[in-house]
């Protein structure tokens, strides 16, 4: 009996996602795969723009700073500050001062995505075995070659953990974009007076599924771009944790 009671709202929500129905306020048809698909498409485009821009800016910056061993305060501090600023507060600040619209929301999401990517790229590069770097220098590699052929591949797990973290938080935050008139999957969540409880729950289910899919997709991409030689080595080493956040290290470990 309680199982039916539990499934009730969820069943209704799934029905909302699959089939059009009249809105709670009446007059218009809402829900169904067509409308949810449009929301999902804009949700993904918005998120992809923000993440791509953040990668384009933060990844080279993190690699460079890590390679030079400079700007640790900036590279680590940006994450601490980023965590302390709530996404809703950042969005609200942009709305109040710069107004609504796709660009402003994309900038907010970009700002959310930069810290984890920058910090993880920096930490990943710093963690590369100095012996490997020495060996590469001994082989006569230039700085650019060293970053591209040695540091980047060896830092990939940490870098991807950062991108994953950024992607998950961007897709999550894109849900509140309708506050700025950008109709993402948050639209039914923000406007229950039109879409009803089923719309809210249905949109929440789709957002959760998209986030999990994006997380898995990036994990898949990571395996695809990891050089074969590193995958062979992985078998003999303990596996990396799924989402590694850069942490202050307790002490330099000497061996």
């Amino acid at each position: 009996m309680s199982v039916v009671a539990l499934l009730g709202p969820f069943g209704d929500a799934i029905d909302f996602v699959l089939h059009e129905r009249e809105s709670v306020s009446g007059g218009v048809q809402v829900g169904g795969l067509g409308e949810i698909g449009r929301f999902a498409a804009l949700h993904l485009i918005l998120s992809a723009v923000a993440i791509a821009a953040a990668i384009a800016v933060a990844l080279p910056a993190g690699l460079y700073l890590g390679h030079k061993g400079r700007g640790e305060f900036l590279a680590i501090g940006v994450s601490n500050v980023g965590r302390a600023v709530p996404s809703l507060a950042l969005l609200a600040f942009f709305l109040a001062y710069l107004g609504i619209g796709f660009t402003n929301v994309a900038v907010v999401l970009f700002l959310l995505a930069v810290p984890p990517i920058l910090t993880n790229a920096y930490v990943g590069v710093r963690q590369v075995d100095p012996d490997a770097v020495d060996a590469a220098r001994g082989m006569g590699m230039t700085d650019a070659q060293l970053i591209r052929k040695v540091r980047l591949p060896l830092a990939l797990p940490t870098i991807f953990a950062g991108i994953r973290l950024a992607a998950v938080s961007v897709i999550a935050t894109a849900t509140i974009a309708p506050l700025a008139n950008v109709q993402t999957l948050g639209e039914p969540i923000i406007s229950p007076q039109i879409y009803g409880g089923a719309g809210q729950l249905g949109a929440a289910i789709v957002v959760a599924l998209i986030t999990l899919a994006a997380d898995a997709g990036i994990g898949f991409l990571q395996r695809a771009v990891t050089p074969k030689g590193l995958k062979l080595a992985e078998g003999s080493q303990p596996r990396r944790r799924r989402l590694s956040v850069a942490l202050p290290t307790r002490r330099e470990r000497t061996t």
Binding site: L88, Y97, A208, L243, L247
Partner: protein
């Protein structure tokens, strides 16, 4: 008196900084007159954070101690908490409502779920980073497994554990701004109520940032106090 007080406040609001508010500027006088409306959301926010992080820590700590003994559990626990961490909190607030209803309970359950991965991972990292020689020495002194855990491993893991607690706390304060979607109140409700009004956004958002900074400092001070051996040695 209780009837007259709100009327008096309304009159003050209308008198001071009227044009500033009408122009949607940043109005210190409006803030001075209206700070009282932020008190309750602020307290709600603190309660949400403290309760969620405390419950999350209790669960994560228990899971970590179990996984520390039975290593094969690390993978499954990390996997499940990883999924909980990945599901956006705003989605979780709605996914939980059919089960836990609208209100604080839903908000807290979702926030607790979000802290688990961070705390579990850091406790495990802290325990794993205890030098093998230290453990050997402790065993050589005849410590039992339980004594080893509570007297050697956990104290040495405190910095990583508290680093996790800091991350979990600041993250929770950020996510709690969305708790109003679950009917949990907090500063987010205040931001959402007048999201285009600059003064309101700056005060409510600023309070959330200050709260995060304050908690971060408190935990850092606590860490310094409980790990006196961590104080940097003065160079000779």
């Amino acid at each position: 008196m209780s009837l007259l007080a709100p009327i008096a406040q309304v009159e003050i609001r209308e008198r001071t900084g009227e044009s500033c508010v009408a122009d949607n500027g940043f109005c210190p006088s409006w803030i001075a007159d209206n700070y009282d409306r932020y008190v309750t959301p602020f307290i709600e926010h603190v309660v949400l954070t403290v309760v969620s992080v405390s419950v999350g820590f209790a669960i994560a700590f228990t899971l970590a101690l179990i996984a520390h003994r039975r290593r094969w559990l690390i993978g499954p626990i990390a996997g499940v908490t990883g999924v909980l961490y990945t599901v956006p909190s705003i989605a979780a607030f709605f996914l939980l409502q059919p089960i836990t209803g609208r209100g604080n309970l839903t908000a807290i359950v979702a926030l607790v779920a979000y802290t688990l991965l961070i705390l579990f991972r850091n406790i495990m990292t802290g325990l794993a980073n205890v030098p093998a020689e230290t453990k050997d020495a402790a065993r050589g002194m005849g410590l039992t497994d339980r004594q080893l855990l509570w007297r050697v491993e956990l104290p040495l893991a405190v910095p990583e554990i508290l680093a996790g607690l800091r991350i979990a706390t600041t993250t929770t304060i950020g996510l709690a701004t969305l708790a109003f979607f679950a009917g949990g109140g907090g500063l987010g409700a205040q931001i959402d109520a007048q999201i285009f009004f600059k003064s309101n956004v700056v005060v409510a958002g600023g309070l959330a940032v200050l709260l995060a900074a304050a908690f971060d400092l408190i935990i850092l001070r606590f860490q310094k106090r409980v790990t006196p051996w961590q104080r940097p040695a003065v160079p000779a």
